[in-house]
């Protein structure tokens, strides 16, 4: 007997594994959808579970993107020459070099942003409310501006990520390769967070959201948890960035890497749309947003991003609890919030 939850997991697993073969023309799209799920889930760790609106997680995305490709290239070739114009034609990875470099780069794309989060976390996470929000906004933008000035990684022009090695299959194989890594990343992120939320970590984050002063007054070392949350987000977002850089093939500082205006905004909207502070909310929000975007984007012609801004305002004001919140209102039983008849009878009177 498969219960409903297991069924959903299996369905998603089946879809995830089979999608590139059933919908070969949409491989890239679905890969990006998994990336969006990761961005949404990780934003929610701060924004939804902990109540700290961050506008700076995109910093880790961009950092991961640059780090993955920089090491991917830099381990074998002089990076500065690669990023100079046409440099990528002079140096060619052998297939072994490509995959070695890629996986090392991807690993570091997770580790280094996590370290950054750990180091700056003590200062930044000590800020609250508006101050935290605007500070992280500043960090996100500053990162993009700084990257745009560093010659080593191509400055304003950016850099190309290493092209797929010749002789290893075709573009289809390449898409499939990246697709599965995206799916694995998404699954790992989801499963890790599902586990993490079932531990102290989840409840403490919620306690910080609901009443940080109370949590401290009860003896909880809140800074530890705040930092750990950011480290976790940074790790997964960094890897997502590394993957994205490879899939797009070209890393430009403000539009692609530290893409505050696109992915940075998306991650906030998706989590709220789906229902912040829940495990499935960000997932649903990301999938819904992606489908909506792919389906209706063309309807809006030049107005797409205007509509995006309007959508944020509308969702935040009229629909702040998102899809999951709406479901909770409609079916409180399924969320376990009830006073049972049996409980009523079980109430023991104190003499």
């Amino acid at each position: 007997m498969i219960n409903q939850k297991t069924f959903i997991y299996l369905a998603i697993l089946a879809f995830g594994i089979l999608a590139p073969f059933i919908f070969p023309a949409y491989k890239l799209q679905i890969s990006i959808m998994w990336i969006l799920v990761v961005l949404s889930l990780t934003w929610d760790v701060q924004g939804g579970q902990m109540g700290y609106n961050t506008f700076g997680n995109i910093m880790f995305f961009g950092l991961g993107m640059y780090i993955c490709s920089s090491f991917h290239i830099g381990i074998f070739f002089p990076l500065a020459e690669w990023t100079a114009s046409g440099g990528e034609k002079t140096f060619v990875h052998t297939p072994l070099q490509f995959f070695q470099g890629f996986f090392i780069g991807l690993f570091l794309a997770g580790i280094i942003p996590a370290l950054v989060a750990a180091i700056i976390g003590y200062g930044i996470l000590g800020l609250r409310g508006h101050y935290f929000a605007i500070c992280t906004l500043g960090l996100g933008i500053a990162a993009g501006e700084l990257a745009g000035g560093i010659e080593l990684v191509g400055a304003g022009q950016g850099m190309t990520s290493p092209p797929w090695p010749k002789g290893i299959g075709d573009t289809e194989l390449r898409s499939e390769f990246f697709y599965f890594i995206c799916f694995i990343l998404m699954s790992s992120t989801f499963l890790f967070l599902r586990w993490a939320y079932s531990t102290r970590f989840g409840l403490v984050l919620n306690a910080i959201r609901d009443n940080e002063d109370k949590a401290e007054a009860m003896g909880i070392n809140t800074m530890q948890y705040k930092i750990m949350g950011w480290v976790v987000s940074a790790f997964f977002v960094g890897i997502a960035g590394g993957l994205m850089g490879n899939m797009i093939g070209y890393i430009e500082p403000v539009e692609t890497a530290f893409a505050g205006r696109t992915f940075g905004v998306f991650m906030v909207l998706m989590a709220i749309l789906g229902g912040k502070g829940t495990l499935w909310g960000p997932v649903i929000g990301a999938i819904a947003f992606h489908i909506f975007k792919e389906g209706f984007w063309t309807f809006f012609l030049g107005w797409q991003y205007v509509a995006l801004g309007a959508l944020i305002v509308v969702v935040v004001i009229f629909f702040p609890e998102g899809i999951m919140g709406w479901l909770r209102e409609k079916y409180p039983k399924r969320f376990g919030e009830l006073v049972d008849e049996e409980d009523r009878k079980a109430q023991v009177e104190l003499k």
């Binding site: 609106n53 930044i124 609250r128 409310g129 500043g138 500053a142 205006r261 205007v306 944020i312």
Partner: protein, 297 residues
């Protein structure tokens, strides 16, 4: 990093003058943000976008042949209504709700406005030429575009006008009363809704003035709003709400910082320098306050 500027005094003079003139403009925008923050407890992340929008109004005048300097009259009028309408449409729903909603709502408005301007005006960097000429000082070694002098003078005039208005007029006093104690003001007959709408409108009008001045003296682009938001936020948290001289001084200080930063780090890192300064200020504040076991509210 290039420390040439410290070796050539005349460059320091140039940078300081440029910085002070620029800073007066920043202070004007910051004053608007402080007004709104103090009265309605809303931090408007879309402040910079309102500035740029005001600037585009002046630019539009320039395109149709009217001298953009008149923008400092036309833009605030139009922007007042823009601000007032924004309040009536969106902001009023957000005033009493939790922080999360008010931050994200103004964030959404910021994105919306950016993209709207991008759609309508295109993404070229533009300037509204004023042809005011240049003033030379110190034997031609220091050049000051007269448009910058114009901008500083106009900013000061509007700031003074606003201060007088807030002290003398009925609405001004109503605004100040509401800022101190909204409930008491309401009981005493002040229409707080009207006050809030007017405050938002006045803030937008100030942004309009600043924006038209920026259109003449610097450049406009749909996406350069955020740095102005961050600058005014910085100035307000350094000076504190209600400290007008402090706002002016902090504004000028920030302007000078930016000009010097251009020489030292290069113009391409100017925005990065501004944002990093913000982070430094906030983190420094946070550590200072944590000694007293408080946090920035």
């Amino acid at each position: 990093m290039d420390f040439l500027i410290f070796q050539i005094p005349i460059l320091m003079v140039q940078a300081s003058i440029d910085g002070i003139l620029l800073g007066i403009l920043f202070a004007l925008i910051a004053y608007g943000m402080a007004l709104q923050w103090g009265v309605m407890n809303i931090i408007n992340i879309a402040q910079g976008e309102l500035v740029i929008l005001g600037g585009y109004i002046a630019y539009f005048m320039y395109i149709v042949g009217i001298h953009p300097a008149f923008g400092v009259i036309v833009s605030p009028v139009i922007m007042y209504f823009v601000g007032w309408s924004l309040y009536k449409l969106v902001i009023y729903r957000v005033v009493d709700r939790d922080l999360f909603i008010s931050i994200l709502a103004t964030f959404g408005i910021s994105i919306l406005t950016q993209q709207l301007m991008n759609f309508v005006f295109g993404s070229d960097v533009v300037v509204a030429q004023s042809n005011f000429g240049t003033t030379m000082l110190f034997n031609y070694m220091v050049t000051i575009p007269n448009s910058k002098l114009f901008a500083a003078i106009v900013s000061v005039i509007f700031a003074v006008l606003l201060v007088v208005y807030m002290r003398r007029s009925k609405l001004g006093r109503a605004i100040r009363a509401t800022a101190q104690n909204p409930r008491a003001a309401k009981i005493l007959g002040v229409d707080t809704e009207k006050v809030y709408a007017a405050t938002f409108g006045i803030n937008a009008a100030l942004c309009g003035v600043a924006g038209s001045l920026i259109a003449i003296t610097f450049t406009l682009h749909p996406y350069v709003g955020l740095p102005y938001t961050v600058r005014s936020f910085m100035i307000v948290i350094i000076a504190g709400l209600g400290n007008l001289p402090g706002v002016a001084l902090s504004g000028m200080g920030l302007g000078v910082f930016e000009e010097f930063s251009d020489y030292i780090f290069g113009t391409e890192f100017r925005i990065a320098a501004v944002f990093l300064l913000l982070v430094v200020i906030l983190v420094y504040r946070r550590f200072k306050l944590s000694r007293k076991r408080e946090y920035l509210k």
